[in-house]
């Protein structure tokens, strides 16, 4: 028994030794594995652990402000308060919402939607209950906070256009990023981020956006933010200073407001700054910032008077008699006429089998350049256009800024149309007809121009410089670098004396008795304007109508068959500063409808001293408004 047990013990000892060795080996293996993971592979795993816990969040930068030339804010960021609910911070979501509903009106729909959202999301994820709270509502919620566990008031920023419809077209608007605008920039993918969709908001969008900041936060496995590790503040977008004088802009809008559809542009004749740019009717750009309703969108889209279209830059109209300056200047420049040379106007001109009528039935008799402009005699221009031909007229028109985009800093702009022989052969495939030159000479037929182009033309005539209109005071790059536009536009290669003849003739239109716009002249000494009326036909007047019933008056025609009323002008006559173009769609006669508007606008511009230097983005201080320096005419002082 004894030694049998010692047999067993020897066996046990031997086997235990092997077992112990085996276990020792395995434990050593564990230690080796630990060494491998924690020493050899440690760097790799440290990176992975940081990837796990650190999350980079973008901080959207505040969008840059947009001001008028004197620093009046035109596009700002409003605090937008919204309420959120966090499930895990309230014992009963339903009850909390009901209490909230007694404080501010939520509606049954909202409560249901919030409950659905809350159930779907993780317990710590805030769910939006309502947007766009008024300050009053915020205050009431704040007071009742103890009864509202889990309710958070959060402030975001919402683009706000204080001028509303006064500035819709030039300003544009911001709206949510669309699918095709995504460039891979993560900023664009932030919920609630808005980009410029039109106007200056779109053209300077990159500069206005600014630079996003980043926040490094520690998150847990569920994505809950534990704490902020590091924060790099972003840079708010650059301030964009527009050349507009908002007071003049408002006045211009107001002056157009009793027309169905109209547009007006005011330029500084020397530096091309756009002081007012109005298109009537307009829309409220604020409607777009939070997503426009279908109903409103459709009503804007289907409106007969096209409120969404910027008629100042995107409406093409036959310029009518406002085109006569181009023709006269082309003829002077070509040397085929002298200013004193007279042509006889019997009331019509026959070319081949066709008869071309002057607007005045009995004709103007003998007229020279000055009188032809003053009375807007059509036959005079039929005559001189035949002498120079369409191509030379077109060349002068282009020189004055017609027939091609002006280059204004807006996303879209129509180029208008100045026909030439080549153009017709290429585009229509027909030879140019002699009669078409005559029609073109009075700004009808193929000739089309935008109100902005007409204003540019007038500015060039007034200053003799090849000005290009622009809407902002500075060039702003995407990275926010701003440089003040101090561009001196070059003198046009047009004889100064010829330009003077034209200006004098335009002076005759407004300031000489029996001039077509004499009734709309500016009577304030030192503010007088020179201009030219235009009444462009939109329908063909048949020979039958002329001979039987007589030309039907505008007031007897349906709106869309009535003539367009146009007027272009510059002021003051001595040292011109302002150029203005007005078109009233189907408004009737240029002298009766458009000229008074242009007169009032030009008076206002001079009273306001709209072209005063103002400020530049580089010197702009938010809040600090630059006062209007030295007004031309004393006004009741304003704060």
């Amino acid at each position: 028994m004894w030694h049998r047990d010692s047999d067993r013990f020897r066996m046990f000892t031997r086997r235990a030794a092997i077992l112990g060795a085996g276990q020792g080996l395995l434990l050593t293996g564990l230690a080796a594995r630990m060494y491998y993971l924690q020493v050899m592979e440690s760097d790799r795993y440290t990176v992975l652990a940081d990837d796990n816990r650190i999350s980079h969040r973008l901080l959207p930068p505040p969008r840059g402000l947009i001001t008028d030339r004197f620093g009046v804010p035109l596009a700002i960021n409003q605090q937008n308060y919204h309420i959120l609910i966090v499930r895990e911070q309230t014992p009963d979501v339903r009850r909390t919402l009901e209490v909230l509903n007694r404080i501010i009106d939520l509606g049954a729909d909202t409560i249901e939607r919030v409950e659905r959202d809350v159930a779907r999301k993780r317990s710590f994820v805030p769910v939006t209950v309502r947007d766009n709270l008024s300050w009053d509502e915020v205050a009431r919620i704040g007071v009742n906070a103890p009864d509202l566990p889990g309710i958070i008031i959060d402030a975001g920023q919402l683009r706000d256009y204080p001028e509303g419809p006064h500035l819709a077209h030039a300003m544009g608007y911001v709206a949510a990023v669309s699918e095709k605008e995504l460039t891979g920039d993560p900023l664009l993918e932030l919920p609630g981020f808005r980009v410029g969709k039109n106007g200056v908001e779109r053209v300077y969008d990159l500069a206005l956006r600014g630079k996003a900041g980043t926040s490094q936060v520690e998150v847990n496995a569920l994505g809950r933010v534990i704490r902020e590790l590091d924060r790099e503040e972003g840079q708010s977008g650059s301030t964009v200073v527009m050349t507009l004088d908002i007071e003049l802009q408002r006045y211009t809008n107001q002056r157009l407001s009793d027309k169905e559809s109209a547009a007006a542009v005011v330029l500084d004749v020397h530096n091309g700054e756009v002081l007012a740019l109005a298109s009537h009717p307009s829309y409220d750009p604020n409607a777009f910032t939070n997503g426009i309703s279908h109903k409103l969108w459709n009503s804007l889209l289907n409106n007969e008077y096209a409120p969404l279209t910027n008629k100042a830059t995107n409406g093409s109209y036959a310029p009518g008699s406002t085109f006569k300056m181009c023709v006269a200047l082309a003829a002077l420049d070509a040397g085929v006429i002298t200013p004193e040379q007279r042509f006889f106007c019997p009331g019509h001109l026959d070319l081949g089998s066709s008869r071309f009528h002057c607007w005045k039935r009995g004709g103007h008799g003998w007229v020279n350049l000055h009188d032809s402009m003053k009375h807007s005699c059509d036959v005079y221009y039929y005559e001189i256009s035949q002498k120079i031909g369409i191509d030379r007229i077109a060349a002068m028109a282009r020189k004055l800024g017609l027939g091609e985009p002006t280059g204004i800093d807006l996303p879209t702009e129509r180029s208008g149309l100045i026909p030439t022989r080549d153009w017709k052969e290429v585009q229509i495939g027909q030879r140019w007809q002699g009669g078409e030159t005559l029609i073109s000479a009075i700004g009808q037929g193929y000739v089309l121009a935008t109100p902005l182009q007409l204003a540019t033309m007038t500015a060039r005539l007034a200053s003799g410089k090849a000005v290009v209109p622009h809407l902002t005071r500075d060039h702003i790059d995407a990275d926010g670098t701003t440089t003040r536009i101090v561009e001196e536009f070059p003198e046009m290669a047009i004889n100064r004396a010829h330009l003077n003849h034209i200006r004098n003739a335009m002076n005759g239109v407004t300031n000489e008795t029996r001039g077509t716009a004499y009734n709309s002249r500016i009577k304030i000494a030192g503010m007088e304007m020179a201009g030219k009326t235009g009444t462009s036909q939109v329908r063909r007047i048949t020979m039958r109508e002329r001979t039987t019933t007589g030309v039907i008056g505008n007031d007897k025609l349906p709106w869309k068959f009535r003539d367009h009323a146009l007027f272009v002008a510059f002021a003051p006559i001595e040292n011109p500063r302002y150029a203005c173009a007005v078109i009233v769609e189907h408004g009737g006669s240029g002298s009766g409808v458009a000229a008074p508007i242009a007169r009032d606008i030009l008076i206002k511009a001079q009273e306001l001293n709209s072209s005063a230097p103002g400020i530049s983005a580089t010197t702009y201080q938010p809040g600090g408004q630059v006062s209007r320096p030295g007004k031309a005419v004393e006004e009741p002082s304003e704060s």
Partner: protein, 386 residues
């Protein structure tokens, strides 16, 4: 029969006070150290709070410690005599939860005793060691060569292993088989017979695979290739390796483990507590813990080798080896060396049943140590001095 243990008649009787002195207090201290590390880690796992884990674990440890010492000073021969009874009770309870699991829905593995939830598979871990030790205690070296005599102990292992596997609890089944295998090995069963069983087992793998639950299959497959499914089943292993690796040599500091505290690490208070320790205390902390475990195991071996009865020796190394297996499987698992099978880190992981099982089994180990000089005959009598 009970008269054998009557006081005064037993020549090997040791007074209670003397038994307490004979108790291996260093081992108790090591166990307390392990539990202490556990408390600290549970405190950290709860982000610096004794709620909900550390406090309860302390209460359980205190209770288990008392039970351990009571068992340690109780006569080893009592456990020898009771071993088959305990085994029978454990088996019946296992069958009981199995039947109840069939009737009720899902796999409930415990029996609620009101103050305590008894898990029969835990009880079986001890019962199997005891009954196998008793069985082989009665066999000579020659007799272990007989195949017929090996059938009863094989059944003793197979029956509970099969029941536990059905629950399904792969980890416990493995522990039972491996723990039983150690006793076969120490009793002198020939090596080729192990080879035979191993070969049979390998051959049975394709068949057994079909009996595995989907989640078990997934665990094994995930283990083979954790990176294939980083956010699904492989997530646990991947995150555990990241936590350990990012801990580096000295760790991120107590309560500063980002993986653990930001919940990237799953089950950090139970199966993955070693990972948390590795993340917060680095290689240094991990090796230190491993050394304490190694010391405990060495003590187990020393106790076994110094014991003068076969039952005691087998019990001692059976328990020590089961303990070793817990440690090895758990740590190997969190380091991605073996599949995730759900074995806790003994004394450190949060969990009452396992804590109690471990402490009861160490009570037996200590009892072996206290009664190391008692000789017990193969028949189970105490007149072993023939």
């Amino acid at each position: 029969m009970p008269s054998r243990y009557r006081i005064g008649q037993d020549p090997d009787y040791v007074p209670i006070g003397r038994r307490l002195l004979l108790l291996n207090w260093t081992l108790v201290l090591l166990l307390a150290a392990l539990a202490g590390i556990g408390f600290a880690m549970l405190y950290s796992a709860a982000n610096g709070s004794i709620e909900p884990w550390a406090e309860r674990q302390m209460v359980r440890f205190a209770f288990g410690l008392v039970v351990m010492i009571i068992i340690a000073i109780s006569d080893i021969r009592l456990w020898l005599r009771l071993s088959y009874v305990i085994y029978a009770v454990a088996l019946i309870l296992l069958i009981g939860v199995e039947i109840r699991g069939e009737i009720g829905m899902g796999a409930q593995r415990w029996i609620n005793l009101g103050f305590f939830q008894l898990q029969p598979s835990e009880l079986m871990k001890i019962a199997l060691v005891l009954s196998l030790a008793r069985y082989f205690h009665g066999l000579t070296v020659e007799e272990t060569g007989s195949i017929t005599l090996l059938i009863p102990p094989l059944l003793m292992v197979a029956a509970p292993a099969a029941l536990v596997l059905r629950q399904p609890d792969l980890g416990t089944a493995l522990l039972l088989i491996a723990g039983g295998g150690v006793i076969f090995w120490l009793s002198g069963v020939r090596i080729w017979k192990f080879g035979l069983v191993l070969a049979a087992g390998l051959a049975a793998i394709p068949i057994g695979w079909q009996f595995l639950h989907d989640y078990q299959k997934k665990r094994v497959l995930t283990f083979m290739n954790p990176e294939n499914d980083p956010l699904g089943a492989g997530y646990h292993i991947t995150q555990s390796k990241i936590a350990l690796g990012s801990g580096g040599i000295f760790g991120k500091g107590y309560m500063l483990g980002s993986q653990s505290h930001l919940n990237f690490l799953p089950e950090k208070q139970t199966d993955f507590i070693f990972t948390m320790l590795g993340e917060e205390f680095g290689l240094v902390g991990g090796i230190a813990l491993l050394l304490i475990y190694t010391l405990v195991i060495v003590y187990g071996f020393v106790i076994a080798l110094r014991c003068r009865n076969q039952f005691g020796r087998l019990v001692a190394l059976g328990i020590t080896s089961t303990f070793f297996l817990y440690v090895f499987i758990n740590i190997a698992m969190v380091m991605g060396l073996v599949p995730v099978v759900g074995v806790p880190l003994p004394l450190v992981s949060y969990g009452g049943t396992v804590m109690l099982t471990i402490l009861v089994s160490f009570g037996l180990l200590l009892s072996v140590s206290v009664h190391r000089d008692i000789r017990i005959s193969r028949q189970g009598n105490d007149d072993g001095r023939d």
